[in-house]
Amino acid sequence: MSENNTEKKNISRRGFLAASGGVTFAVAAYAVAPRFGFVESAETVEEVTEQAISAWVRIDTTGRITIYNPSAEMGQGSMTALPLIFAEEMDADWKDVVIEQSPIEPAVYGSVMFGNSRRMITVGSRAVSGYFDSLRIAGAQVRRMLITSAAGEMKVPASELTTEPGAVVHKKSGKRLTFGEIAGTMTVPDAPPNVVPSQLKDPKDFRLIGKEHVPRMDIPSKTDGSAQFAVDVRLPGMVYAVISRSLVHGAKAKLTNESAVAGMKGVLKVVPMNQGIGVIAETIEAALDAKGALKIDWSGGDSKGYNSQEWLSKYAAEAAKTDGGRALENKGDADSAIRHATRKYSADYLNDHVVHAQMEPLNAVVSVAKDGKSAEVWAGSQAPDGARNAAAAVLGISREKVKFNQMYLGGGFGRRSTSDYVEEAAELAKHVDRPLKLMWTREDDITYGMMRPASLQRMEAGVDREGKVVAWKHTIVGTGGGLLTSGSDTQFYSIPNQKIERKDIEHGIRTKHWRAVGHGPNKFAIEAFIDEIAHGENKNPYMLRRELMADFPRAIKVLDTAAEMSGWDKPSKEGRAKGIAFAERSGSLCAGVVELSLEDFRIRVHRIWCALDAGIVVQPDNVRAQSEGSMLMALSTILHESITYKDGAVEQSNFDDYHLLRIDDTPELIDINLIPSTEHPSGVGEAALPFMGGAVSNALFALTGKRFRHMPFTPERVRAVLGETP
């Protein structure tokens, strides 16, 4: 980036920040083609005048419309979807739109969540649902301002004006002003005009939302190597850092060969840290060599003694204890109703730990100013305001003095909503007066990972004489507290007596939200158990669900659609079988049918049919992509993924012993039906994940007559369930 361009960018930024206060506007000489993230194209376009119309948009005199994206782009497509919502109401011509990452200003660009606070955090599939209303209003306000300005220019009443994509038109006279023409002369009012929801477009008039022809803006750069992730940032004089962290979480490090490592070629600093020993070096290779040479005595550790597979076998005893549970739902009297039930059912379901294993290992770049009073951070974060604040705290400076550059995230899945890696980079950057890039190796990422909890789900149910499910108990046992809870409720199954509780066992390990959080394990247990009840009651598992959902027509529609798509009533061809399941997540309803076979003891999924009701769908093709990815990422955990601990340390360390799904597990067909809706959008980044565990388990039962209750269903476990000795 040339100095000249830097200065222009700063002019634009100052002007913009003024505009974000809602009181003024800026005319900026903006001559850099902006790109997402840090690297900007050096191509200089002609000098144009650009106007910040609101905090969300700038328009230049050539008609280019720059809309800010406030969310993290980690592959889920919100970077395109959010500006698209704004552009819809603004009536921008999408081909004129450029998307730029918004500044980290939660008061302006945050979305309201967790009470009343505005946060910039991309989690829980909430980007589109959380911003949908506010971005529509903001877009409509800009459209109104453009109309008002054009009315003055054309000397006609604003009420006679309307918009077409990219222009204000006066139908009577045929006069027409493009947004770019208006931007050159308009005066932005002190306060935005008032727009109420009833003045927004009727969904039937949407030109962009819900249309098939709008591709994601980030994709071209992800096919030619130009997309910039934090790991790609290179700064003049930059040094590299890695950390040797304890395999047992919380153990303390004592370095026994400091001088030998400090004397290695290219090594600049050896830094004792809470979580281990950091090494700073001139090159990444030197840093990695030094890390390999560290001789560390580890002592203590919070997770010492934790053996995960042993504990899993003890969880059943924990579930049986009558005390120590935290009630999550208590409706009617489930215990009594089960005691008095005509038929009783019970089963335990288990799942191993899994780790995010996002393809881009964690990393961050921090550059502290020479005087130590300001800093710049480059990272891919699901919570950029939190990450910026954390870096500021570590550096002992105010958050306003930290410029945070949001980069593309090479996968998030919940791992990047915490800021540990940014804090580590900031801590190490204090030790050098050069920019520093902290890198985690894949081994760091897995051995020091933050896991989805391993858990046991004890399911119990009672059925009355008429075959009605009258009682339901679900006891979750595991480590990770609230992470275990999500998805344990059965809000679309009407069962009068319900008791859901959680029993927390502390193992001292690091746990974290993992895509769809508790929904993966909980819906696996719920949906497989419903299937067991149906079998016991001689009911079609599809029809039993339908019966339980009687009060929820939207859920029934989703279930019926999936059943119909799959030809549920028709048997699969010889050697194959189908399983059905339903799950809601982040407000979206999803049902699916999986068809599979066994090849020796390896599960082969052939076809998946999925029906999804996510309310208004902003980008249908992207929702299908998210659903395909969710189903296959789920399949990865169902077939392959298992993190185990031995004496407090993770036993896996890289992709040779932690197996992720590969292309040869791809089904022949993934058919997705998006249910048309005019309801408020709900989340789509995880919605198609939770039903999969149950659907696969149920299909395996249909195929083999055996229940599969412990994920992952590796070939060894399949063999064991089928009672075949090797």
Partner: protein
């Protein structure tokens, strides 16, 4: 450290590096070719794939000394302006999600189609199994390879 000469994307480059340095770090940190990615470091995920004389090589554990006689091509050099049939098909099918592995996917797919212009599903699996995608974009990877095979031409 030694002065090494490499042929990368049609240009001869001179870099200061230890001959045992892995090619990935030379490409990324010395030459600024950040398309190939670090992800596993043990040649098990394929995010670092580059072509050496048209064959994919995992650059993360290939010492630079082993490829000094070869023509190295990274995703940045696969085509001008991203017009390789595989890149075009990748956009048409909207394959990438987070995008981190996609350079590796594309380089591997380009190699496949160069040697087998009309691969079967099994041949696609066999060849592409080397590259992991955590977003699990595989369904579209298959579609895009089929599309590139059909529309690729020369």
């Amino acid at each position: 450290m030694a002065e090494l000469r490499l042929k990368v994307n049609g240009k001869t480059e001179t870099v200061e590096a230890d001959p045992s340095t892995h090619l990935l770090w030379v490409l990324r940190e010395k030459l600024g070719l950040t398309g190939p990615k670090y992800s596993c470091g043990i040649a098990r995920c394929g995010a670092c794939m580059v072509h050496v004389d048209g064959k994919t090589v995992p650059s993360c554990n290939t010492p630079v000394s082993e490829v000094m006689d070869g023509e190295i091509t990274t995703i940045e050099g696969l085509s001008r302006d991203g017009e390789h049939p595989v890149q075009k098909a990748w956009i048409e099918e909207q394959v990438p999600q987070c995008g981190y592995c996609q350079s590796g996917q594309i380089m591997r797919a380009a190699e496949l189609l160069a040697t087998n212009p009309n691969p079967s599903r099994e041949e696609i699996f066999e060849h592409m199994e080397r590259v992991v995608c955590r977003c699990a974009t595989y369904y579209r990877v298959v579609k895009a390879i089929n599309r590139a095979a059909k529309e690729g031409g020369s």
